[in-house]
Symmetry: C2
Subunit: 328 residues, 2 copies
């Protein structure tokens, strides 16, 4: 059964004890230069590679981060995935990727994460029932909700400043002279859609104006269909605030189909600043989510918690940036 080279083999060749071999590969352990050299030489010759499973078994910790994602269709998320992978890699952590279809992550989806005793977990774009989340706490596995807040929860979350972004966007549109605006929401049970709307609504109301709200689902098709439906049944507003970019592109394509001029007849503002927003076919005004900073916040927290678990709950918000293009 034994097929691979182990520390014992290396020890024999190097003429040292197995413990010494182990110490060479264990960060923080003390070994003399001479021993280290002998071990490394022998290891090189034999092609030795420490067995991660034996390590994890004994240290009870891993260098694996569980990353749970939903809806990879939105180009925002591949970016997030890439950033996390790159960022964790710097610290020697690998990514166990879990994809879920449902808005609320199911127990079976995260069973794997517990089985592999991951060092930390990032949940993007999805929520999970509190008692599932609690099972991570019970195992002292730090957990971050990325781009989602759980209401009434005591878990750490990292988001963009959705509320003030919503406010800023309303201020901007009103300053541009819009009086009858509309909000096209994402999935209504998401904190992101709710907060963007809330901030928007607040400012609109302050100015004694109203806005219509249309419910959609964060997808291109959703934005497209919602807009077509609006055009069939009622007058267009002077501006759409759309809960994310990919939907906003659908909105624009629907308007284009009916030959409505943007921004002359209708203004459109999205959210995220995905790559496509700057494509000449769209040139979408939007609110940029600072992915890099958001990822950094998440990684920093997780690394700290891995060293000394506290289970602190906090709802971190990172400031985004308004990006003005040609749709407003």
């Amino acid at each position: 059964m034994k097929s691979t080279i182990n520390a014992k083999d290396v020890a024999k060749l190097a003429g040292v004890s197995q413990s010494s071999v182990s110490r060479v590969y264990f960060e923080g352990a003390k070994v003399s230069k001479k021993t280290r050299q002998k071990v490394l030489a022998a290891a090189e010759e034999l092609g030795y590679r420490p067995n991660e499973f034996a390590r994890s078994l004994i240290t009870n910790r891993t260098k694996i981060i569980g990353l749970v994602m939903k809806g990879v269709q939105n180009p925002f998320y591949p970016q997030v995935l890439t950033q996390f992978t790159a960022s964790f890699k710097k610290f020697g952590y690998s990514i166990l990727f879990v994809h879920t279809n449902s808005d609320e992550i199911q127990t079976e989806d995260i069973e794997t994460l517990l089985n592999y005793n991951v060092a930390g977990v990032v949940i993007t774009d999805a929520t999970m029932s509190l008692n599932v989340a609690e099972s991570f706490r019970a195992n002292q596995i730090p957990l971050v909700f990325f781009n989602r807040k759980l209401s009434r929860s005591n878990f750490y979350s990292v988001c963009c400043n959705n509320l003030s972004a919503g406010r800023a966007i309303a201020e901007y549109l009103i300053a541009k002279g819009s009086k009858d605006m509309a909000y096209i929401s994402g999935n209504e049970n998401t904190s992101t859609s709710q907060e963007r709307e809330e901030g928007f609504s607040e400012v609109v109301t302050q100015h004694n104006l109203n806005f219509k709200k249309y419910s959609s689902d964060y997808t291109y098709e959703g934005g497209y269909k919602t807009t077509l439906a609006i055009m069939e049944e009622e007058a267009l507003p002077s501006a759409f605030f759309v809960a994310n970019d990919i939907m906003a592109l659908g909105v624009m394509d629907a308007l284009r189909k009916k030959e409505i001029q943007v921004p002359a007849q209708v203004k459109v503002i999205g959210f995220d600043n995905i790559g496509m927003s700057s494509w000449p076919a769209y040139e979408l005004t939007t609110w940029e989510q600072p992915i890099e900073k958001m990822v950094e916040e998440t990684v920093t927290y997780l690394l700290a918690e891995m060293i000394d678990y506290t289970g602190t709950a906090e709802a971190v918000e990172v400031d985004g940036v308004f990006v003005e293009r040609k749709t407003t």
Copy 2:
């Protein structure tokens, strides 16, 4: 140090031996119904979960698949990632996600995969030097190149029928009356771009026609810039065959910017059939890559190799489908 429940704890509570507990959780082992029930009841009460690391240590195998990806910017790849994750999940395998920036995967990128002794590896959209690939063979870890062929290699690869797709596209354009066509390539060192061009070229030559070739890079920006440059310096061809969809969208946006009518003045054909191709702003004619079937081929091969490693090399090709829309 001992914080979690182990098989011994369960054994004690259930009044059986630790071996029996192990057998309940080890597929294929024989246990009586009575024992199983006692064990499961005790495990439930204690919240027992078998330690994957101890398992892997002893069996010398894992339920982890290494998935190496490059260029998640192209929406084709998130789809691939999702499919693989879903497909492997059915068989109890998890995905260790590795992202690489370079066309050729570096040793350090795959160090992790060897350290975790993954059960199998999928490399998408990238190549690796043969001696890096050989280190997987040395460890009897099955490996598939997905959507890439390695020339002169003896590794398994799964691709779309790029060559015949290129031919079919040339036939189609010629039948439509195109005489002066152009091919916009992806990164020239990729087998996919080469084969699509080769098939295309073959048929064009058979018809005693010529085509121009422009070199690009598989990105939206590449397609956009390449097309702008063409328009500045020379006459437009009557049709573009573009090596992938995301570039083709860039081509279309460049044409749109100069108010060139598609397909009236220029026809455009892409490759992949990504979601955006069907957007009203584009309605791109393209060649659909059968992701599902390609993933299935890959998974089937890997699962078989995990049971009985042979290291068979084969270049599997899965048939794609021509999708006609409004750009031709």
